[in-house]
Symmetry: C2
Subunit: 470 residues, 2 copies
């Protein structure tokens, strides 16, 4: 993958994920194959969120005066909000914003919903399209003007501690989700100048694409009482006092799908985790003139048992084209497992299985009793292997550096994330970013006592991370 950007665009096209020819810059069409990957990805996420969140759906338009109520927040978005000014041929009395995110749509309603401490906590989420008038170079699934898949959760709590705990829970939610997809990540607390507009602090997940640039794939924000005060969200305590609530919100987007594609893919094309693959298994019959019907019937039986007993998405590719062409196509589309069955295999009670993740061919005894379980075990091993391979690559790209020169060298040679000691001062951080032409992702954990800031030499307060970013 010498040119990731080119590879990425080609695979989106060849595997029919999205069509980028829609006549508005930064807005794309989800094609059937891509839509299915998106659907199964969302299914995993929703199953996790549904455990203790309620799904809701808020309007897409936000009145100007609501959007602009929270000054810090609007400052962060004012350059990228799309505005509706006309309905039909009539100019509207008040401009309406296409939601860039839904705090200002939801929180006026929360102020009506929250009454008593017995209502709390409240935890909602929605999956919607949001809009950003991006002025930077757009890139499908990564930097777009319509984010078609924006999952945003919003929670309301009684106390500062409860909100802080929810931030930790949200981190665990996204960790579980990304682990199921085998996507590695670095979790840091964003520097002050890069936190969500209106938040007290932001915890972010960054992953690393093959070109060495990090991609922010999920964020969790502790909103404190900022919005509660702006939107007058209060509750009555057990003692009858009225207090402002504490809030959190957390979200992720299409970028998760970009990561699945970019991180697991290789020169042969997509390589999909089994849970999100449109087909999880494809069966290719090896047909000769003799015994064709027998082979096909055997294949159909295998398909039925995998579908019915295993609840797997299995496709039997009985097209009348060369087997090699089928192999090429299904590998390119990233289908995790291929099963090849020919007359000799049936006679020998064996099938050939080919794993997409390892490009590995194996002969499997066909035992009707245990076959579905045998295949399920292979599927699980595929996911585990994909995950560990991805983490291995990721970890090999995170290096600790002791000074600015090393950081520069490391980034140009190893192309990844550098870890370093930092004093925590904004001016020093910005200076450092300038020097090495990278962005500080954030800080994590404590630092050893004798560590120094690699830029200013003062005692380091944090272990920090930086990289070239998307």
């Amino acid at each position: 993958m010498s040119d990731f950007s080119e590879w990425f665009h080609n695979i989106l096209d060849e595997a029919k994920i999205v069509d980028t020819r829609y006549p508005i810059k930064g807005m794309h069409v989800w094609l059937p194959q891509g839509f299915k990957i998106r659907k199964y990805t969302l299914k995993i996420l929703k199953e996790i969120l549904d455990e203790d969140h309620e799904e809701v759906l808020f309007p897409m338009l936000i009145p100007e005066d609501e959007l602009e109520k929270e000054a810090i927040h609007v400052k962060g978005f004012e350059n990228e909000v799309y505005w509706v000014t006309h309905g039909g041929l009539t100019e509207l009395n008040e401009k309406l914003a296409l939601r860039p995110t839904s705090e200002t749509a939801m929180y006026p309603m929360f102020s009506l919903w929250v009454r008593s401490h017995t209502d709390l906590p409240m935890k909602f989420y929605q999956v919607v399209n949001t809009f950003r008038y991006e002025t930077k170079h757009t890139r499908p699934l990564i930097r777009v003007r319509e984010i078609t898949t924006f999952e945003e959760a919003h929670t309301v709590h009684e106390s500062r501690e409860d909100a802080a705990k929810q931030v930790e829970k949200a981190v665990e939610i996204y960790r579980r989700f990304l682990d199921m997809l085998g996507i590695p990540y670095l979790i840091t607390q964003r520097p002050e100048w890069d936190k969500f507009p209106g938040a007290e602090y932001t915890v972010a997940f960054d992953t690393l694409l093959p070109d060495g640039k990090t991609l922010q794939i999920a964020t969790v924000h502790n909103l404190g009482q900022t919005f509660a005060k702006t939107f007058e969200i209060t509750y009555e305590t057990a003692e009858g006092d009225h207090k402002y609530v504490y809030q959190t919100c957390y979200g992720l987007s299409d970028r998760v799908i970009a990561s699945i594609i970019g991180i697991h893919g290789d020169e042969s094309g997509l390589c999909l985790p089994t849970d999100v693959a449109p087909y999880q298994i494809v069966i290719v019959p090896i047909i000769f003139k003799k015994g064709k019907e027998e082979v096909l019937e055997f294949c159909r039986n295998v398909q039925d048992s995998l579908k019915n007993k295993g609840n797997l998405r299995v496709h039997l590719d009985d097209r009348d084209i060369r087997a090699g062409k089928k192999y090429y196509e299904w590998e390119m589309k990233g289908i995790p497992l291929r099963i090849e069955i020919g007359p000799r295999d049936i006679a020998n009670k064996k099938v050939v299985i080919v794993r997409r993740d390892k490009h590995e061919k194996k002969i499997l005894d066909f035992n009707p009793e245990s076959f579905v379980e045998d295949i399920e075990a292979v599927m699980q091993d595929i996911n585990e292997n994909m995950r560990s391979k991805a983490w291995e690559t990721f970890n090999s790209k995170v290096r600790t550096v002791e000074n600015v020169e090393e950081a520069s060298k490391e980034i140009s040679e190893n192309k990844g994330i550098v870890s370093f000691g930092w004093c925590g001062e904004e001016s020093c951080g910005k200076e450092l970013e300038e020097k090495v032409n990278m962005d500080i992702l954030g800080i994590r954990g404590d630092v050893e006592d004798d560590k120094k800031c690699i830029n200013c030499g003062k005692p380091a307060k944090h272990v920090a991370f930086m990289a070239k970013t998307y």
Copy 2:
């Protein structure tokens, strides 16, 4: 239900379906309970469509020049399109429309996708939010400015016959779907002046709400080659010629959910078909001081077996409040079946079941072997009863009339749909609509030879239907 409109608004509020207090007229918030009904309704619809359509997702914004390419089409929408004119603080070079429907978003892409006769037919659908700047009085789920649940299918065919056949298939799809929800309907071909802008003809499903007004709940359009010619959608035939395709599109919206609520509901509140109920069954333990733990354990076992063996959504309501309060609440929320279990029932190996549809209490033998099946049989009977009851009411409201006076009388006394002979002339039809203050829904089937038009007295060409409409 003396005042349907008031009842409808109250139940949306009390059963927490949508919150209508969002600060933009005609745009509402789906609350968790409503969202679940919406989710399960869409699940049924998608399962049917997935049989031979591919799900896709197109951008929400449409460039002005695409929207305005098809003159007849844009004429039908120009008064109700919302326009985005600014991105951030910048005025856009070209205005962008919030999709009122997606023909003009999709068909420029179809012209890139369709190449050969071997590509056809193509059948796609998407479920999205669409927007109409309604100037009429808005009403939640019925007449809104953001249609949050707009299912639209778009198909492409080689020939006029194939498109006509697809119209029939689409009618069957919606028939199956509405039958599963027990919603009765009248299927007619809309009069010329009321067809979809750009269509050759429109087939529509109308249902009847308790106030005697019909509600259009699904439409199927044969688009002929109108859009194919505008958007240059051509295919190469087997002989190597290039021809324009034929197209259809069909859709439905939130109004289906309004119909579920309005048609099955009664003075006690919602009454939900089992497939769309957030909980399908609620178990209420009847607890006395003695034997409380035993009853609860029994209830939990019943819940587990219904969940695991029956794959049913079952809630055990073990709150420490009066049973009567629970009954009231779950009836209001429309949960199809309630199971009451007390210590005496356990001793007698019996449970009490209460059906929401009939308000009927029955004692059921508790046979662990067959219990899940017994309950499933009751669930099926609930759906059948709801459907036949709804159709009975509907059919009793469709009456044939022989002249204009009868039509007027019928509509004011019986409040429903009148069927009559019509010459088919637009001027006569519009005159008739004026006279009786109703809308012609459409025409259906053939008319007897000697029938006369009830308005002009000329020979009738069609059996037509009219009603007061939403």
